[in-house]
């Protein structure tokens, strides 16, 4: 699905953000054992547990959701989609090397497979849930409900704290055409048209 919905990262800023996160691809998320993060909002259901969930605050337009999703079962679990009342649309995004040499954000075909006993790290500049068409401002301190859709029809919901965050500023070219800002302060209200996402 969403194969025609790719986003070549195009700015130096985006490259810098990726490089920075590349220095420490997993330290903040993996430094604490996720299950020890008792002080953080957490939820567990269907064999999944989330730790350190958060959303980048944004005035309008798009933003990203992050955290660590752990599969506590002995079988792989596939996350096929996401939704939230805070946005008209939510997508699973991955970051891959593009044909032009840069990095590209694109919808993750087939969703994210979380291996048995493994975890999925959602981080700025890497895999994340992208919220598009925010239904209102996401303000620092807000608690945003996110629902992951799982292969087989199950869902997994949790709340994520909205944080004032200046990173995760990747810009995208939508389908190689018009640009939309991922950066919330840009004030962009553009969101992918449903037709682009069939």
């Amino acid at each position: 699905m969403n194969m025609n919905f790719t986003y070549p990262a195009l700015t130096v800023l985006a490259a810098a953000a990726l490089a920075l996160s590349g220095c420490a691809p997993s330290a903040p998320a993996s430094a604490p054992s996720a299950t020890d993060a008792a002080a953080s909002p957490a939820a567990a259901a269907d064999g999944l547990a989330v730790s350190q969930p958060w959303v980048k605050a944004a005035a309008s337009g798009m933003t990203g959701a992050f955290g660590v999703i752990k599969n506590t079962t002995g079988a792989d679990i596939t996350v096929t989609g996401a939704s939230t009342p805070a946005a008209r649309m939510a997508e699973l995004h991955e970051t891959v090397a593009g044909t032009s040499g840069g990095m590209q954000m694109r919808a993750k075909e087939g969703g994210f497979v979380i291996p048995a006993g493994g975890e999925l790290k959602l981080e700025p500049g890497a895999n994340h849930v992208m919220l598009m068409g925010l239904t209102g401002p996401v303000k620092a301190g807000d608690e945003i409900t996110l629902t992951l859709e799982l292969a087989g029809g199950g869902t997994f919901s949790f709340t994520a704290l909205a944080k004032d965050f200046r990173g995760a500023n990747e810009n995208y070219v939508e389908g190689g055409a018009g640009m939309t800002g991922h950066q919330p302060s840009s004030g962009s209200t553009a969101s992918p048209s449903p037709s682009a996402n069939k």
């Binding site: 330290a27 903040p28 430094a31 604490p32 993060a37 002080a39 953080s40 704290l161 944080k163």
Partner: protein, 423 residues
Amino acid sequence: MTGRTTRSAEPPQSGAAGKASRQLPRRGLLFGGAAAGLGALAAAGTQLAAAGQTTAPAAGTAEAVHGGGLVAFHGERQAGIDTPAQAHAAFVALDLRPGTSREGVKALLRLLSDDAANLCAGRPALADTEGELALVPARLTVTFGFGPGLVAAVDPARAPEWLKPLPAFKIDRLTPDFSDGDLLLQICADDPVTVAHAQRMLLKDSRSFATVRWVQGGFRRSYGSEKPGTTMRNLFGQVDGTSNPAPGSTDVERVVWGRGGHPAWVDNGTSVVIRRIAMNLDKWDEVDRAGREESVGRRLSNGAPLTGSHEHDDPDFAALSPHGFPVISDVSHLRRSRPDDPSQRIFRRAYNYDAAPGAGGVSDSGLIFVSFQADVARQFTPIQQRLAEADMLNLWTTPVGSAVFAVPPGCREGGFIGEQLFA
């Protein structure tokens, strides 16, 4: 009591790496860091020995790593009050942005409490872009204090009567640069990098709601330089804080938490007064040792009262010199600060500061005076009033900043500091 625990209060000795790694989830990293340090020390020792040096620390004795020390953030009371003072501190006062709503304050306190809980546990905060810096908690504590503006924005009826600027004292030369504020964050740890990172993280999460009013950085002796519990010295060289109630004592229960004394504004809450006291070291240079000791009424060598020989000896204010003068001057700091009313007591937790000198000067040094007490008006203000009227130390010291904050209780996991105000 509060049930708060301090883990690893003592520096791990040999086997430090193993002990430290148990305190934190981040086993591999701490162990790896300590092991690397050991290797470096051992290598250094080898080189120095080869060069005939004899002062190199033995590799087996100098490797203690104590950055893993944890002070629990959660509890009935906030940490950082009767916690044995860490070596480094940042005092940050914030002003709420105009129009910040009650809900905005709540969101701010929730965000900052979440950050503090993670950081104090040695974990990166949520969205912590420098998360590696959080892995050395070094007994980090973050203590919140509420100024009049914050309480007014949430529930004005809850404001204690004393939550306002102190009365003006004639010795004061206050500047707004170090006075007042809506929200205090007292950040203390035994490592200055830990303090800087925590300050940065907390301020990042504050900027949607508040602006920085002032920041004061303070320090004491480094962790491990002295035996724990040693009374601090200020930059005049004086032993400073001898008569402080001992942490964990019934005196602290009364003085700080109002148990059996003047009641606190809220159960398990207290108050903090922060005054920046400029100390004129250049003028102090002109005073000989006898004059310095007379000004305070204590010996410089060990802090003993001039009528005693040990630091904690009771002063004898009736003792007279052969010439018939009081041994401890009636205008000494010791005499003037000692109340006749035993309920006028405070718990001090001061830090030194040493700022860049102004043009033409060589020092801008002093004391960040910090005192906790259940009731500012009944416990603190009378003492300050007496000292303002007469205290030889006033010749060399000038209060240049002053702030009063109400200290709310602690919170449980999942809660946030100040939640009682929203109940």
